[in-house]
Each structure stands twice: as structure tokens, then as C-alpha cells.
Symmetry: C2
Subunit: 100 residues, 2 copies
DNA sequence: TTGATAGGCAAGTGAACACTTGCCTATCCT
DNA sequence: AGGATAGGCAAGTGTTCACTTGCCTATCAA
């Protein structure tokens, strides 16, 4: 749960993808690829970006919708809103993992 | 900068250490070790915890002070406060990496 | 139908990471 | 002094992770 979220945020390329989706919502895979290449000089393959998007989607940060042969990606910032309160708020921290 | 912070938060054991330091500030290495073992059933070596603390310190999340043979660890939540605003605030995302 | 476009699946590779083991230094107490 | 306590350094190991390569499916336009 929180694990997927923090792991998704751990990679700089994924954070840049979130930046791009925050700037323009509803981008396709190819659109994101071009932007990473053009604006950020990231020489990265389409499959790599696709895998990053899968990680972001598993974390709930990206939602997708299919229309014909296009798949649009939208940013969902909801999971981000309260992830730090765990340490910012004084009180019970609340354990995360029970069985390692 | 932000890279160290997100990488530090990516590990569940490190997040648990932050939980413990949020609950009780100024703990020593051995104190943190016992708590991880007792409260969280984490069978982890002292050196592993020490390495985690080094990562957290590099991220600015933990600050240390030496007193004699004791080294006390304090939580610093300052780096956590604005890490999500980058995507929550509408506006310029601001690039992170310029030269990979 | 043919070709082009948009995307998916899966195996393989190299590097980063979490963790251990073994030994060493420093401080305190008796 | 000598043992005990608190911590540090460094090499080694196994796993995870980011990324590539190669091939395959689906939709649309001519």
C-alpha cells in the first residue's frame, strides 16, 4: 500500500513523468516518451517508460483510460496528500508492516 | 537532494525507524535496534540499522549528536513538509535532473 | 487487405541495494 | 589496567530494479 507508493516515487524518471502529467493531463505513452526525450534529454526506450507507468499505476498515482488504440494517462494526486502526516503529526505513528 | 530524500523513504525498515524516532526522540543506535526487534519483530543486525540511519541522515531526515560514547538520533521532519507540493500545486512543475 | 501507428509481453543483463560477517576504535565503570 | 558498552569500517553476498531486445496484438487509414 504505502510501500508501492514510496517505491514508485523513489525513481527520478518516474517523478519526471509525474511532472509531465501534472503539466498536461491525458497523455499517451508515445507523447510521454517524446517529452522525456525532448524536454528532459532522457534517452530512454518506450518499454522502459511503459514499465514506469505500470509502477505509477500500481501505486495509484496514474490512472488510465483506453480509447481505440490510444491509452491516455492521468495523474491522480490523491495518494500523495497525506503520506507525510504520519511523521508530521504528533501522536501514534501506526505500524505499517506486521509480517515481514 | 530530492533524490536522497525519496530514496531514503523507499525502504519500509527506514520508514519504521522514522516512526520510532517520531515517537521518542534522541534514541541511540542500540535503542533503535531493540525497538525494531521488540515492537516490529524485525530480525535485523545492528550494522544494518546503522546503515539505514546513515541513509536517513544523508537525506536530512535524521540529525545526530554525540555525547561521550553515545550518539543520539533526532528526527527532522523539515524535508518532508513540501515534497509533494511539486505535484499538488498547479503550475510549473520545475525540472529536477538536467544532466543525466 | 496492406501498411502504419499505438501498445503489450517476456526473457535477459548490469547495476544498485539491503544485509551479513569480521574486525577495529572509543568511552565508561570498577 | 581491564573488561564492558557503544559505535564504526569494509569486504562479500543475494536480491531487487531499471532498462534493453525481440517479437506479438490491436486499431485505424489508404
Amino acid at each position: 500500500m504505502a510501500d508501492d507508493l514510496f517505491k514508485a516515487l523513489a525513481d527520478p524518471t518516474r517523478r519526471t513523468i509525474l511532472d509531465e502529467l501534472a503539466e498536461k493531463s491525458g497523455q499517451t505513452l508515445f507523447e510521454i516518451c517524446s517529452r522525456l526525450s525532448m524536454k528532459h534529454q532522457l534517452g530512454i526506450s518506450r518499454q522502459a517508460v511503459s514499465q514506469h507507468l505500470a509502477v505509477l499505476e500500481a501505486a495509484g498515482l496514474v490512472e488510465t483510460r483506453r480509447e481505440g488504440r490510444y491509452k491516455f494517462h492521468d495523474l491522480n494526486t490523491a495518494p500523495l496528500r497525506h503520506i507525510t502526516e504520519r511523521w508530521l503529526e504528533r501522536g501514534a505513528p501506526g505500524p505499517e508492516e506486521s509480517t515481514p
